[in-house]
Assembly symmetry: C2
Homo-oligomer: 506 residues x 2
């Protein structure tokens, strides 16, 4: 079992530690949806947004804001993911949110209808990026690069019917890692699977399994089952739905919608029920029909090598060769994979959250070549972490347990028990900021001491510095621990050093 | 002068340290524009992107990719900025890239034409966000929040004529910090200016000045000069151009395009040439005409208080009251500010980079109320760091000095001098990854040792572990320092601990 490094374990443990404490922090920006309808009704009556009588205060369908509490969780999740990508030597890359429309055409097969186009306001025809893979391939081709290992964290947009309960949105974040370049077989592919294992282990989401297959095995299977080559991708797309709908429904779609002969569909049905380990690979090598496909044999050969490398990486028990795994996107050419959680982390009495796959990817050796004027290929393999689904799981877990997380990192609060001490508070807090200490005060001329101390308790701020007449006269600052309520007087000139010492020790 | 905390100084010093080293790292993805024309010609002849005869491999006009080298610099700059926001107790927030179109209307005045609309593909009418301020106000109103201190780092989009040399793009990143809530006057405003100072100081961009003015002083000045109230915002917009075009041209625009009487324009001209410190505020209090405007007096009173607080913060010498500062956006209602660099950081022989303002902001007390069905106001003040311009400055500085920066963080490279050692290399690197060590190997079955060592030198990887027949037999791993070329044999079972010790010490 892979383990994460000290630093990352600590970062995540800190979050989990936060989760286990009793809820203290006021949660901002929650429970929006309930108030939207009432808001809309009000908005249509009284209108600072005057002329629009049907004005509704909302985010676009399928999108959402991330509140500070959500952002704090998100930041910790992304930190674990990006740390792993960097641990494997990946460079950062960013591309524009939109691409020339023609860059995205003929890349996504049946899903192309989900691409958001920008309005033609003169100039170029533009579309919002649909994933991070096609922009990466465009970047490789445009800059004539032959190899690169990069990660990219960014938003993508798809006009899907949003079923938000399952963590599907029209705007969502992708975390991609890809290795481009002409290397010896299956070494980069194995690293991609290792990365998925490290990330899912590091995020402590419970047990998981990575299904693996190969497009060449699928294509070989289609060919020997009698699927016409023109229908390979369409049938692939149907097979891809097997984790959501039953074989019966998939068979129905293939026969009635995609015009496949029923006996061909049934032959496919025999294969797609197979899943197992190395022994299934060996069995398929011996399969009298499949072994007649050169393509399938190539795929099986690579899969065998891949499993050997994954054994060396110590993650073979996480891998399952699954002939029903198809992946929807057109551009895959070799090994494909998809990680699923084996149990929902929600407790038994809760309705389990259907999260689908939490990571996926595969080999796409032809995509960069589609952008190259001479068709020069750059083989690629990569993975994408389903961070929105992971985020939904963690969010549900926090909701179930009534857990909260700090939304700020403030270390010290600057307070006063007296009136007319704003000037001293401002001088003192500037000193703290200039020393790199995270500090806050209330934006009031004369706040009550109790209000100030309550703020610290609510926000989880550990230290308070207090300045009043007495302290000013004696040249000291009172330093108070919020947890123990202990107070000590520190010489004014030593206060920064004392705070830094306390923060370092904690 | 504000100083940044130890951690942040260190992070930035590490970058600057990198900059001072001789260039070693190969720069990926550079110099794209020169090859685009040739690429386009080729693409139109030989076409994997078949039917499009005018296919050009490029990013949309006014947008760009960020190469790994650019991303590394960007990450360090953003880290300094976000650290400062967190030091001041800000919470994170994220909003969708697009909003309902009606959310953005009537917010930006003359600039509204620059908003990107999405194509009507059925459903809601959507526009890409134009800044992060209006989405923040929408969020506050939608969730009925009365106060919040948040930061937001994200991309925004404006259909401007891109003059890329000045660091202006159609897609760019904004780093915003805002304080919403009904507080005592000028305390949050002063903190915003303190934050700008801390960030610009921390980024070591050279000396800077923050121009300050107040919309109420401007409006009072317009009124007493004889500008009709209906033209206040339009004239504001003209005044805002004074840092780019001369007074003569601004006057011409006001008179011919905006229909202002020439004598009114001249009266404005007398005021907008004034800039100074507290003494200018006092002088304006005594100005026989301006002192007749209640609005202007309110603005001057707040400005006086602000300067008092900024003195307590130790940054008064960075501030300049400038009556020509107007800011383009419609929504400002009180104090406004804009930070400019006093000298370009480029050496004298280089053409100075005209970067304009590097940070700006102000008070906007009416914006949240525009979204509230009852018009309930939530006063706000905030700032935006011009991170693209800052990025251009740092990039030009690096170019001038031929500086490079590491694009990966890899600590250890796993090498072998012998053939057929892939299995051992894979086992070893998995151990390193599982211990949280950043490690790489070449994706070749039998790479040459020299190729492997060269890779380490090129990429700045400090340590190499070497495994071969001899080492395998003796149960050791060779640990090599790339800089000193020293090698020691470490017992296999101690290699992880030894590497961690070395990394901790360095």
């Amino acid at each position: 079992m892979p383990q994460l490094g000290l630093l990352h374990r600590r970062a995540w443990a800190a979050l989990l530690g936060q989760l286990l404490r009793p809820p203290r922090v006021v949660c901002l920006g929650a429970a929006r949806s309930h108030s939207q309808v009432a808001e809309a009704v009000l908005a249509s009556q009284l209108k600072p947004h005057q002329e629009k009588s049907n004005f509704i205060l909302k985010t676009p369908k399928g999108t959402r804001d991330f509140s500070p509490q959500q952002m704090a969780v998100r930041e910790k999740i992304l930190d674990i993911i990006v740390s792993c990508f960097k641990r494997h030597g990946a460079k950062g890359l960013d591309t524009p949110a939109f691409e020339l429309k023609e860059m995205l055409t003929e890349k996504y097969g049946e899903d192309s209808g989900l691409i958001y186009d920008l309005k033609d306001q003169g100039g170029e025809l533009l579309s919002l990026r649909y994933d991070l893979t096609v922009p990466f391939a465009r970047y490789m081709a445009m800059n004539k690069l032959k190899k690169m290992k990069r990660y990219h964290v960014g938003k993508v947009w798809r006009r899907e019917s949003p079923t938000i309960v399952q963590g599907r949105y029209r705007e969502f974040c992708q975390c991609d890692f890809d290795i481009a370049g002409d290397f010896d077989p299956m070494i980069p592919d194995a690293e991609c699977l290792k990365i998925i294992c490290e990330i899912l282990t590091g995020l402590q989401l419970g047990d998981f399994l990575i299904k693996v297959n190969d497009r060449r095995i699928l294509d070989g299977m289609f060919a020997i089952c009698g699927v016409p080559e023109s229908k390979f991708r369409a049938i692939c797309s149907s097979i891809d739905k097997l984790d959501k709908i039953s074989w019966k429904d998939v068979r129905h779609e293939m026969v009635t919608e995609k015009g496949l002969a029923p006996e061909v569909a049934d032959r496919i049905g025999d294969y797609v029920q197979c899943h197992g380990g190395l022994s299934l690979v060996e069995q398929m090598f011996q399969d009298p029909r499949l072994s007649q496909s050169k393509q399938a044999l190539e795929g099986l050969g690579d899969l065998k090598l891949l499993l050997e490398y994954l054994t060396l990486f110590g993650i073979a028990e996480k891998i399952c060769f699954d002939l029903s795994l198809a992946r929807g996107l057109d551009y895959y050419t070799g090994v494909i994979y998809e990680a699923v959680l084996l149990q929902t982390p929600a407790p038994a009495e809760e309705e389990p959250l259907n999260v689908g796959s939490v990571a996926a990817g595969g080999r796409y050796d032809g995509l960069v070549g589609m952008f190259n004027p001479k068709g020069h290929k750059v083989p690629c393999v990569g993975l994408s972490i389903g961070v929105e689904r992971i985020f939904s799981i963690v969010e549900q877990r926090m909701k179930t347990f009534g857990e909260k997380i700090r939304t700020t990192e403030t270390q010290v609060f600057v307070a006063t028990p007296q009136k007319n001490f704003l000037q001293e508070r401002l001088k003192l807090i500037a000193e703290l900021w200039d020393a790199g200490i995270k500090a806050e005060l209330l934006y009031k001329n004369n706040p009550k001491l109790l209000t100030q101390l309550h703020y610290c308790e609510n926000m989880g701020i550990p230290l308070v510095v207090i300045i009043g007449e007495q302290e000013l006269k004696e040249g000291v600052i009172k330093l108070r621990s919020v947890a123990t309520r202990e107070e000590v007087a520190i010489k004014r000139e030593n206060i920064v050093a004392e705070i830094q010492k306390r923060l370092f020790e904690s």
